[in-house]
């Protein structure tokens, strides 16, 4: 089996068996259970809530992130093994949401770790969550969910942003400059 086919198989397998770890910062605790239980039942897709990042493939970051929380998020993200995907859950991960002017809340999660799929809303409905999963499957299938590769590629920039955030210099956090040549 050549490399191409192998990675294709790997993609298929990882699409059908996404194990999830969710980082609940307070939001989403009402919206996640319906997803897992009989109403929406994400196990239909082979998805599973896992207890540790070592076993997980999908990282679901729910809600706003204070700088202190960000440290934990980065830690957990780095302990996950490739290939790994991140779903930003709720408006707070996109632009800070209702904490947009807070002095110690980060505004854009994708500046610190690569995010593959965002779910907008405050709070998003379970249907939206399911939709994001399907979207992620689609992206994996097409080979578009390459956040983990980006993290390796632009590691220095991510690290720099994280360092800035940890020292509360949130204004110095920059966008990740993507190299278009590739």
């Amino acid at each position: 089996m050549n490399h191409e086919n192998w990675s294709k198989l790997a993609r298929i397998m990882s699409k059908r068996s996404l194990w999830m770890i969710h980082f609940c910062t307070g939001c989403g605790a009402m919206e996640m259970p319906p997803v897992m239980t009989s109403r929406y039942d994400m196990e239909r897709f082979g998805m599973h809530a896992m207890a540790t990042p070592r076993q997980a493939d999908v990282f679901l970051v729910t809600g706003y992130l204070a700088v202190k929380t960000l440290k934990r998020v980065v830690q957990v993200y780095e302990q996950m093994r490739d290939p790994k995907y991140v779903i930003g859950f709720g408006s707070c991960t996109i632009n800070g949401g209702m904490y947009w002017d807070s002095y110690n809340t980060i505004k854009d999660l994708s500046k610190y770790i690569p995010v593959d799929v965002y779910i907008a809303g405050c709070m998003p409905r379970p249907e939206a969550i399911m939709d994001s999963f399907l979207k992620l499957f689609d992206m994996i299938d097409k080979g578009e969910a390459i956040g983990w590769q980006k993290y390796h590629k632009y590691y220095d920039q991510y690290k720099r942003n994280q360092r800035m955030a940890f020292s509360y210099r949130l204004d110095e956090v920059k966008d990740i400059k993507e190299d278009d040549k590739e």
Partner: protein, 617 residues
């Protein structure tokens, strides 16, 4: 030659004792002296129907020896049983001495001197042919252990060892006296015993005396104190080698002197002599309670001590059942225990040598720093837990088979549960000492400590592959008891119930390992730091003041359940007995009031009583 051996040992004791200030020189001299029993063993190998090449038998020892002591005569002679136990002790002893050479940094002369004396005593015990010789060498062995315990300097250890040693000596002596009264001779071969109650009392006393040294409950109280408070090489020899002498004594007197048929004449239960049955029950209780107590210990040496007690209980079970199968199992267990427990104690010594710690909750992560020590103790632990990739399993298997064969319905579950309990405490050693968070930045143990450990691991592997060779060793011993060895080929053992084929296990295991290895090689891997752990997202480096090592109070739920039932049971019993003795003691002391008038009145009273006697006469 035996005279020379004894003389060399005694001279060695003096020379080594005088070299107290030069531990290395003393150790090397002691090592050379310690090899002599092994050469003697080689030269006596014809007793076991083994023919060795002549270059291994360069020293020629006579097979029997006598020394006239005026009133009594010392008689030594090699027998198959003695040879077998000498094999255990004489191969363990030089290794222990070799280990000690680098272990001791000062003042070791006394240690080596006492160790040589223990070996001399054991040598005599194993060869003794009469009760006087046996007793003399037994006590020499016993008090040289006391000397080593005194070096440890712990009150409880000294007091309990000397008290129980005296108890054991006196029980044995009393038993010997009963036998002498019955037969009028001290020589084993000349004794003609009958099925009288006196002989039963004698053998009971003798066996309970030996049970002290074999640490059978409730005579085990001294063992944890001594094991945990003495120097490590000595403890390795005590637990591995010397504790077997108790079982040697039990076997010698139960099957050599008294004999199975005579034992049966005091009543049997389902084909097992009642005497043996009760020994087996005591053994099973010991195996279980020792295991439970071992699980609760935090001190590495105490844990190993209780584990020794538990494992030795299995030997008692085998000796109690008394079929060829059971005796083979008991001897096999004795052999395994000699080597794996010695390795474990030596490993504990090496760990202490490097870290200075014995508490399991204070150790951790040494498996990466001391990989060879870890691997040696891993093998020993496999043998202890009877995992079928060392010879430890064959021994336990024989004992289980023997028990089932004789339909021991209640003893066998206890044995098995004790075996499961062993997993609990060996994992405590594995995790607490060798795995988990690396806390010490130490080097591997020195080579002169690793070599003995690995040499002692070898028999565990050899007899894993060829348990039949071991059964061959037991054949002459069983022949002496008018039994035949169990059916076997080099790598299979057959019983009336089942068959055990080591080659099948080994090859199947190798095969499945290859299978697993192919799976394992499927993907590359990267090594991460031991501290890179998932702790709910908390970076561990933030909390370096908190230990990530969960080994303190490791089996707390277990302790909660079992502790109330095992709260110093036996120890408390003996303490009550001692307290009763002290009550009498203080009563006796009160007689001596210190007032001279009282003393005069005593004399007067005594005089009056005498006068009364005179008047009545």
């Amino acid at each position: 030659m035996i005279t020379l051996t004894i003389a060399i040992f005694l001279m060695g004791v003096i020379v080594v004792g005088l070299l107290n200030k030069y531990p290395k020189t003393a150790g090397i001299i002691a090592f050379f002296v310690s090899l002599i029993p092994f050469f003697a063993l080689l030269s006596w190998s014809s007793v076991m129907n083994i023919t060795l090449p002549s270059y291994l038998q360069f020293l020629n020892f006579e097979t029997s020896w006598q020394y006239n002591l005026g009133p009594g005569t010392l008689i030594l002679q090699i027998t198959p049983l003695g040879w077998f136990f000498l094999l255990l002790l004489s191969s363990l002893f030089p290794m222990v001495i070799l280990f000690s050479i680098s272990y001791f940094r000062s003042n070791a002369g006394g240690f080596y001197a006492a160790m040589l004396l223990t070996m001399l005593g054991s040598f005599g015990i194993l060869l003794a042919q009469d009760m006087l010789t046996f007793y003399i060498f037994w006590e020499i062995m016993s008090w040289s252990i006391l000397a080593l315990v005194i070096r440890g300097g712990d009150r409880k250890a000294i007091v309990s060892y000397l008290s129980f040693g005296a108890l054991s000596a006196m029980l044995i002596l009393f038993g010997f006296m009963l036998l002498y009264f019955k037969t009028g001779t001290f020589v084993f071969a000349e004794m003609h015993l009958d099925a009288s109650n006196l002989v039963l009392a004698a053998i009971t006393l003798i066996v309970s005396g030996f049970a002290v040294k074999g640490a059978l409950m409730p005579m085990h109280v001294w063992a944890p104190h001594v094991y945990s408070k003495s120097e490590e090489p000595f403890v390795a020899f005590l637990s591995g080698g010397l504790s077997k002498l108790g079982y040697f004594g039990i076997m010698l007197f139960m099957y050599g002197v008294v004999g199975f048929s005579l034992l049966s004449s005091w009543g049997t239960f389902r084909g097992v002599p009642l005497f043996g049955y009760s020994l087996a029950v005591v053994g099973a209780f010991t195996a279980f309670a020792g295991t439970v107590l071992a699980v609760m210990q935090d001190d590495l040496r105490k844990l190993l001590a209780y584990s020794s007690i538990g494992q030795l209980g299995y030997i008692a079970i085998g000796l109690g059942i008394g079929t060829p199968l059971a005796l083979t199992g008991a001897l096999f267990q004795a052999l395994n225990h000699t080597f794996f427990k010695a390795v474990l104690f030596l490993a504990a010594g090496a760990v202490y040598y490097r870290t200075g710690k014995y508490k399991i909750s204070e150790l951790g992560g040494l498996g990466y720093k001391m990989p060879f020590t870890f691997l040696a103790s891993l093998f020993a632990i496999f043998a202890l837990a009877a995992i079928p990739i060392t010879s430890g399993f064959a021994a336990k298997w024989l004992l289980y088979e023997a028990a089932i064969e004789k339909k021991f319905l209640f003893v066998t579950p206890i044995m098995l549960i004790a075996g499961v309990g062993a997993f609990l405490y060996v994992y405590k050693i594995l995790y607490g000492v060798f795995l988990g968070e690396p806390r010490y930045n130490v080097k591997e143990a020195p080579l002169s400590q690793l070599v003995p450990m690995w040499i002692l691991v070898l028999p565990l592997i050899i007899f894993l592959i060829f348990p039949g060779w071991f059964v061959d060793l037991t054949a002459p011993i069983l022949q002496g008891y008018e039994m035949t060895a169990i059916p076997h080929t080099p790598y299979t053992i057959n019983t009336s119930l089942a068959k055990y084929n080591t080659l099948a296990v080994i090859f199947a295991f190798i095969g499945t390992l290859i299978f697993a290895f192919i799976l394992y090689l499927s993907k590359p891997q990267e090594k991460v730091d031991h501290m890179d752990n998932y702790l709910a997202g908390e970076p561990p480096e933030l909390y370096d003041y908190i230990s990530m090592h969960a080994s303190s109070k490791y089996y707390e739920p277990f302790e909660e359940v079992f502790y109330p039932y095992f709260k110093r049971g036996a120890e408390r019993m003996w303490e009550i007995i001692l307290a009763a003795g002290e009550v009498f003691g203080s009563g006796a002391r009160k007689i001596y009031t210190g007032i001279v008038g009282d003393y005069s009145i005593y004399i007067l009273l005594f005089f009056l009583i005498m006068v009364g006697w005179w008047l009545l006469w």
